[in-house]
Subunit: 333 residues, 2 copies
Amino acid sequence: MARATLKDVAAAAGVSVSTASRALADNPAIAPATRDRVRACAADLDYQPNAQARALRSSRTSIIGLTVPSLVNPFFATMAHVIQQEASRHGLSTIISSTAEDPAQLATSLGTLASQQVDGILAVPYNGSDDAFTRLPMPVVLVDRELPDAGLPTIASDPRPGIDAAVAHLLERGHHHIGYLSGPMTTSTGVGRLAAFEEACGRHGVDKREIHHGGFDRAEGHQGTLDLLDRGVEAIIAGDSMMSVGALEACHARQVAIGRDLALIGFDDNSTMRLQASPVTVIDQNVADLGTRALHLLIDLMSGTSPPPAPTTPTTLIIRPSSDFTRRRHHRD
Amino acid sequence: MARATLKDVAAAAGVSVSTASRALADNPAIAPATRDRVRACAADLDYQPNAQARALRSSRTSIIGLTVPSLVNPFFATMAHVIQQEASRHGLSTIISSTAEDPAQLATSLGTLASQQVDGILAVPYNGSDDAFTRLPMPVVLVDRELPDAGLPTIASDPRPGIDAAVAHLLERGHHHIGYLSGPMTTSTGVGRLAAFEEACGRHGVDKREIHHGGFDRAEGHQGTLDLLDRGVEAIIAGDSMMSVGALEACHARQVAIGRDLALIGFDDNSTMRLQASPVTVIDQNVADLGTRALHLLIDLMSGTSPPPAPTTPTTLIIRPSSDFTRRRHHRD
């Protein structure tokens, strides 16, 4: 007969797997009566927790901490949602702290999570914030952004495949004058995506390109788009989801017809990009994969196992009408 | 001469107000050197904390907890952002837990926050979740949704003014057959908004109305919109922000021209609603006001002061092209 699982115990006790796990871990959030019922069912079924579950049981709080740079950025909102739901399936609670795209707030957030004795931390760092991580006694996994000198395990996406495909696609459709809304140089993603854009322009021979140095912020995307339009670009690639929304705002405000006057490519897929008269082509990061892999790596570290180094997730290009039109040239420059 | 404030101490020590507050409160997240520098500056300036600050200083963690029903719902994302930023200005850190629109997860989230000994909790409850609040030893303020029998202080908006104005506006423009996407009856907002819609229909004499009983979820809004369109409605009012996005999805998928074939009114203002070919009329809740007032009420309770009962925030109607067109009748029914 198959060995009883935590799911069997939970079913027998009439509680969720999460509650059963926490009851067996003696988590104070579970009422004593529930705890005793779960334990009785576990004994009846001769339930034997596996090694990972034993390691998790010996942890102090069954809580993990997550810092995100923004709560209103749909990319990080989705990442937090994915991590929290997957953690719940593993009997872990998640507490989230926002650092508001402000490097100074990261140290405060990490200090708060550490003082709460969480069992592990998932963090989206800023360049130069290495020091904030040095005094943390629990396992840490970086997600989305890297800190090359910190020596911390990291789950991030590779911007190059998606950005390279975006530039090739624009040229193929006749959009030769390309503007790029760059993120801040205080983040590895801002730096890495700009480098990927420059690299792709070099590889594909784009000779007319414009860079607007912005930030991961709607207002920056809005202002940068007006700036790039004034410089006469035929296409714009936005370097993150917030600037993508700002670019849409600017085009609506100035009545620029996306998919006819301007080819627009956003970063990260979300409903705002899809629900346009001319749905927006995006460079997609597969946020569900990023969040899930980061959580699983953290759980491995919390269980004391040494997982193999994780490869990056490639970005992909999702082509939609905002850029998928051919620009006819009336004259050569 | 004016008395030195916490801001003056922070400026003298070259740290943020948040850091200064936590340094004076002996919060372990602050490095000892920083703490000593802040204290020296406070002594130099003869800084005297006021009563509220003294009460906060004696609290245990300088952390508040917040439960939200969803991280991907832009209404709650904005609320969490507003609360976290305002808490930071008061020297408090915020830890956030999502309950994923699942009443069963609320008890777990509250248990987690309680086990973390936060100084106070802001929570968005579900109907029937009264029990989950009975064993909490710290001040609690409910926000957005009510629990009439729990006797807890609550900051919520009044759906009636906005919904009444929406129905009156639709009739005035000639949209007489009105569909409503209702939220779940497991929330006070779902119940209250449906009642407000029924009341407005009665008051203004709407004789053709259709109700779709959905949930606070994009897929429900999508399915419900298809259902209401099949029933021949001329106008749709969505009962929350997630169903508003779902309604947009359904209209895009079925190529229904919003602002010409269908009058659409969403709930809660956000960029997806504004960035449409036909920008969407919304019933707005003033989320910044809700979040700020809930936090200030919690801080008052944490400081031991008894604030006056808080009035509700009225909803308002923001009219945009999605509904602001006149329907001509070719024949009378």
